[in-house]
């Protein structure tokens, strides 16, 4: 492993600008993190916290209304924000792959599995149809689909949900990417298949040494899957650190509240602790610390001044006045 991290995001800000430029939504604001080869980063946050926009920013696949306003995304030492559209296309799917929120709907109903798993190989490596099918068979084996020789000939509707899920995984790793971004890949699955899928992802990650960014609102998954966690709130990372530290000694009140709101088996209390209030409207974030209206440990300056990012331990940082 080299010294330069695989992915280095620095001060990234992505805003949505309304047509006349009058309404600006700061979906991602001043986000920085690094990821080394083979590491797993979990990005956690409520809906509207900017985590999906962050994922799309990394691949430069933003909707037309969105703008990168500041920051840099360095992947293998190269700034992705300065790449041309064609260069980005060669990175997508080949060096950075992504699994979408609903993998069940990610397969084209009109093509065989072999064609779809082989598609990135044909696009990026100029593989022949026959060669791509050959590789597709191996890939199906790698995601532990039984009888891959028969399955390549199937159409998506002939397969179960769990299988389709694995096939989307096979498509993602087909070109041996260095980084895999999974945007809530398990929300549409039932719990047993979720667990299988997660262990498969881990296995693939270990086998290929690829780095993984896992975007989710499910802290249970983060605890199982990730080495590092970044907690997002109102477009900013409010706390980041190794997974043990985050769960053991959470520094930010929001992180603490999130952890307390996980249902635990055998909890005699009977009621879940919910976070008071609503997630903020990303177009009209409160001043100061965005979390202050809902924060149980609010100080007076929280409403006025935004807290700085401060270190509270080894690789553990938070933006909160309690630690400022």
């Amino acid at each position: 492993m080299s010294d330069t991290p695989l992915l280095e995001v620095e001060g990234l800000s992505t805003h949505y600008v309304s047509e006349r430029g009058t309404r600006v939504t700061r979906a991602v604001e001043d986000v920085s993190f690094t990821l080394r080869d083979g590491e797993t980063l979990g990005i956690v946050g409520e809906s509207g916290s900017g985590k999906s926009t962050l994922a799309l920013s990394l691949l430069r696949l933003l909707p037309p209304a969105a703008r990168h306003v500041a920051g840099a995304i360095r992947f293998e030492g190269e700034d992705l924000l300065t790449k041309s559209a064609v260069e980005m296309r060669h990175i997508r799917g080949k060096r950075i792959a992504m699994i979408l929120q609903d993998p069940m709907a990610s397969l084209n109903p009109l093509f065989t599995i072999g064609d779809q798993v082989g598609e990135p190989l044909r696009v990026h490596e100029g593989a022949s149809r026959r060669g791509a099918w050959e590789r597709a068979r191996e890939l199906l084996g790698a995601v532990r689909i039984s009888a891959p020789n028969a399955r390549v000939r199937n159409y998506p509707h002939e397969l179960s949900g769990g299988m389709r899920q694995r096939i989307v995984g096979a498509i993602a790793i087909s070109c041996a990417p260095r980084l895999l971004i999974a945007d809530e890949p398990t929300t549409s699955l039932d719990v047993t298949i979720q667990a299988q899928y997660l262990s498969l992802l881990r296995e693939l990650q270990r086998a290929q040494g690829l780095a993984l960014i896992f975007i989710t609102h499910n802290l249970g998954i983060v605890a199982r899957m990730c080495d590092k966690v970044a907690v997002m709130y109102g477009g900013r990372i409010v706390e980041t650190g190794p997974v043990r530290r985050i769960f053991g000694t959470p520094a930010h009140p929001y992180t603490r509240a999130l952890i307390e709101s996980i249902p635990k088996l055998g909890d005699s209390n009977g009621r879940l602790t919910a976070i008071e209030g609503q997630p903020p409207d990303p177009a009209a974030l409160p001043g100061g610390c965005a979390f202050h209206p809902r924060c149980p440990a609010r100080l007076e300056r929280c409403a006025v001044e935004r807290p700085h990012d401060t270190a509270v331990g080894d690789e553990h940082r938070t933006a909160c006045w309690l630690h400022g």
């Binding site: 691949l59 696949l61 037309p64 296309r89 060669h90 990175i91 997508r92 799917g93 080949k94 792959a97 992504m98 979408l100 929120q101 609903d102 993998p103 709907a105 990610s106 397969l107 084209n108 109903p109 009109l110 093509f111 064609d115 598609e119 990135p120 696009v123 990026h124 149809r129 989307v168 498509i171």
Partner: protein, 294 residues
């Protein structure tokens, strides 16, 4: 390469599955008969459709007084055999109908996909042109074009394609707008496919269904327009035996009691258009997943 193959496969697969569920016999029998007549017109027609015998003018059909078995459906004002003209007329209607529908379909579908998928100014331009186009009355527009390029069977095809592509563009664009939000299209983007690849492999095969349904429905419209243009004298030029032209030629004889000169071609047009529409309606129901009740 693969897109068109998959497109053909879907249609073939769908058609195969219909066999189990029963086909609409009426339109298929009518259209198949007309198609066979059109293809084998040279062998079936008893007389040359363009050469008349002046001694045999205005012969009524065989079952009427004065009719003969030599001219089963009578003769027209220059003594041409009506049955033969109807049979060759099927060839003209079928050829013009199918080629025009295909030309319009290819043009409209292509533009619809481009507009829907690329969006932005491409969409704006194509759709504003489409709107303007649709604002023109189709028949008047067709007459106008025919007056410019001059009447001939092949020009009619071009005119129809130019008049009717907008219907496809509209429908296809709408379909594409919903398709491009599908996850498998997003996955293709995330996998680094170019826009061309996505349009060809992921969009086109999925809009073929709608385009085929529309084409079947348009077949009737195109055939009527062709007949109307020929009737008005800006379509297929005489002495070719187009049904619309036969109607126009025969209309003067209507008051004189020569009913077969107008009623018979009219009946042919009606049967063909009705069959095309029935088939189109049936296809639309069959191919629409919501109406199909899977």
């Amino acid at each position: 390469m693969n897109g068109s193959r998959a497109a053909a496969l879907t249609v073939a697969w769908r058609l195969a599955s219909f066999r189990r569920e029963g086909l609409p016999m009426f339109p298929i029998v009518i259209l198949a008969t007309l198609a066979l007549l059109a293809i084998f017109a040279d062998f079936i027609a008893p007389h040359d459709p363009q050469v008349g015998m002046l001694g045999e003018r205005f012969r009524p059909p065989a079952w009427q007084v004065g009719g003969s078995t030599a001219h089963l459906l009578g003769t027209d004002h220059v003594g041409r055999d009506v049955l033969s003209r109807l049979i060759f007329g099927a060839r003209i209607s079928m050829t013009v109908g199918f080629t025009a529908v295909i030309f319009a379909g290819v043009l409209g579908t292509t533009l619809g996909i481009l507009a829907g998928y690329l969006g932005g100014w491409v969409d704006q331009i194509i759709m504003r042109v489409t709107d303007a186009w649709l604002a023109l009355p189709a028949l008047t527009f067709a007459i106008f074009l025919a007056a410019i390029v001059g009447p001939s069977a092949s020009n009619i095809v071009i005119i129809m394609a130019l008049v009717y592509w907008t219907r496809y563009a509209r429908v296809v664009r709408g379909e594409v707008l919903s398709l491009k939000e599908r996850d498998y299209v997003r996955l293709a983007i995330v996998a680094g496919c170019s826009k061309r690849t996505i349009m060809k492999r992921h969009i086109l095969p999925n809009v073929v269904n709608s385009a085929v349904v529309l084409a079947t429905l348009m077949l009737g419209v195109v055939i009527v327009t062709e007949a109307a243009l020929s009737f008005l004298g800006v379509g297929v030029p005489p002495p070719q035996p187009a049904w619309g032209l036969m109607l126009a030629d025969g209309k003067k004889g209507l008051m004189a009691g020569y009913w077969w000169l107008t009623v018979l071609p009219g009946l042919c047009i009606m049967l063909m258009v009705l069959s095309a529409n029935l088939l189109g309606d049936w296809l639309r129901v069959k191919l629409d997943p919501q109406l199909r009740q899977l």
